[in-house]
């Protein structure tokens, strides 16, 4: 992931770079972000944030994260990824009720019942959903809090935010659009 901060105030630029780096390192969605570009001019005052998203992996279905072993009473679901285990367990509980679902070990769940196609096709992990939850949190942490007037522009794989304490001017929007165009081009970053 690349981060670029631009500002006429050199000291402020250095300090803000540290701030954004800390926020990003603690964010849950840092894997979804490819590039981040910031322009801050406290004289105007305006703050522009451009986020370019990385191509996230596709959605994961139940059948992709878990394997089944059939036994006499039902089936044993084996899911070897800790990240998806709570979601797998939640779906099974929802379908069969907690009395028919028993967790045998860290990776194995015993189900007394038949696991049909509908469960196998359930979506366990959707990166888009996760991104949306984390994105607002990330933006609110980065943008100066006093800049309450905000405008969001969304394009394919890109997002721009213009924030200020005064009404948003057209020239700022134009600048943001220009930065968005430039964001695709690697040489500009």
């Amino acid at each position: 992931m690349r981060l670029v901060v631009e500002s006429p105030d050199e000291e402020g630029r250095i300090a803000y770079e540290r701030t954004i780096n800390t926020v990003l390192s603690e964010s849950t969605i840092k894997g979804f972000i490819k590039r981040l570009k910031v322009f801050a001019d406290p004289k105007e005052p305006v703050f522009i944030l451009i986020i370019q998203f990385a191509r996230g992996g596709g959605v994961l279905k139940f059948s992709e994260v878990a394997t089944l072993k059939f036994v006499r009473e039902g089936a044993i679901v084996v899911c070897e990824n800790d990240k998806f285990m709570p979601e797998v367990l939640r779906i099974l509980w929802e379908k069969f009720g907690s009395e028919k679902v028993e967790q045998l070990s860290r990776y194995e769940i015993m189900v007394k019942g038949e696991i049909g196609e509908d469960i196998l096709n359930t979506i366990i992990y959707d990166p888009e959903k996760e991104l949306m939850v984390g994105l607002m949190d990330l933006i609110l942490r980065i943008v100066p809090e006093g800049f309450r007037i905000r405008k969001y522009i969304r394009k394919e794989g890109l997002m721009a935010l213009i924030a200020s304490e005064d009404p948003i001017k057209n020239e700022w929007v134009e600048k943001a659009l220009k930065m968005m165009e430039g964001a695709d081009d690697t040489s500009n970053l």
């Binding site: 000291e11 406290p42 004289k43 100066p144 809090e145 006093g146």
Partner: protein, 294 residues
């Protein structure tokens, strides 16, 4: 008199307290945290060895407390949840470890450049403290503009911010300390905290020298109020009486206890004769300030 912090187990701390009083010292504040107790106290310099001996016997730790007996306001433009953890938390904690009683003040309209302002309540609240520490942000333009907030503050002020600027007259400015998201974890960060503490110490020392001419020190007033108004023990506040450089903050409502506080006997006169007693802007608290100190 030398201010110190006692950090140790609850067992035997009463003996230690008795020793402090026997030596002619005073306990400024006492806090319990489960089985640990922290006592801020003050003892004559010549008896330091005896206090150290007793602390060693109780296996407790003694530390210097240069800011003991001062009440400091740590003022931040915002304490919103999105910005947690705030750097103000670390600064307030560091000052606390130096012996100060710190109060965090989050401004309701402190954010932004042009929009930042103090409400009348916030201004009065900050002016009740001994020293105010204002924490500003990263950009030169914003920090310079926000210095206008300090115009209405009548107490000594320490301001921090990232750019190196020349502050207005009378303001101690600590550079390189802007908006830091997260803990102070880098190598140089503790030095920044130390810089703030040093700046606060300088201002506290200056103010302390002014109040040296009063023959009755505030911690003496505190022990007399504690002895003569038993209701103070029922207060649920962690520090029912806060010692300030220029008097006391008593966590009792003025309407009910104002007259009682005025009538507290100090040597051969009353507290009302040497101090002004008036309600604080915080509900349920009373301020005692030496007459002629402002």
């Amino acid at each position: 008199m030398i201010p110190l912090i006692f950090n140790g187990g609850v067992y035997g701390h009463q003996e230690f307290e008795d020793l402090v009083y026997d030596l002619g010292g005073f306990v400024i504040q006492k806090n319990f945290a489960q089985t640990e107790v922290t006592i801020f106290f003050i003892v004559p310099e010549e008896d330091l060895e005896r206090v150290k001996e007793k602390a060693l016997e109780l296996k407790a730790e003694l530390k210097n407390a240069p800011l003991a007996g001062s009440e400091i306001a740590v003022v931040v433009p915002t304490i919103s949840i999105y910005h947690l953890p705030h750097h103000s938390c670390d600064i307030a904690e560091y000052l606390r470890r130096k012996g100060a009683k710190t109060n965090m003040v989050g401004l309701s309209r402190g954010v932004g450049k042009r929009l930042a302002r103090l409400t009348a309540f916030e201004r009065d609240l900050i002016n009740e403290h001994d020293v105010a520490v204002f924490l500003f942000g990263n950009f030169r333009e914003c920090v310079t503009e926000k210095m206008k907030l300090l115009r209405e503050i009548t107490v000594p002020v320490v301001a921090t911010g990232f750019p190196k600027i020349s502050p207005p007259e009378g303001v101690e400015y600590v550079p390189n300390l802007g908006r830091i998201v997260g803990k102070f974890s880098r190598e140089g960060d503790i030095d920044l905290l130390e810089n703030v503490a040093k700046a606060v110490e300088r201002l506290v020392d200056k103010k302390r020298r002014v109040f040296e001419r009063f023959e009755v020190p505030p911690y003496y007033l505190k022990s007399e109020v504690e002895n003569q108004i038993p209701e103070i023990n029922e207060s649920t506040s962690p520090a029912p009486i806060t010692v300030k450089l220029d008097g006391l903050r008593i966590k009792l409502p003025y309407e009910k206890f104002g007259e009682k506080i005025r009538n507290v006997r100090i040597l051969d006169f009353k507290l009302g004769d040497i101090c002004n007693v008036f309600p604080s802007v915080v509900e349920g608290q009373t301020l005692v300030r030496f007459a002629g100190s402002w």
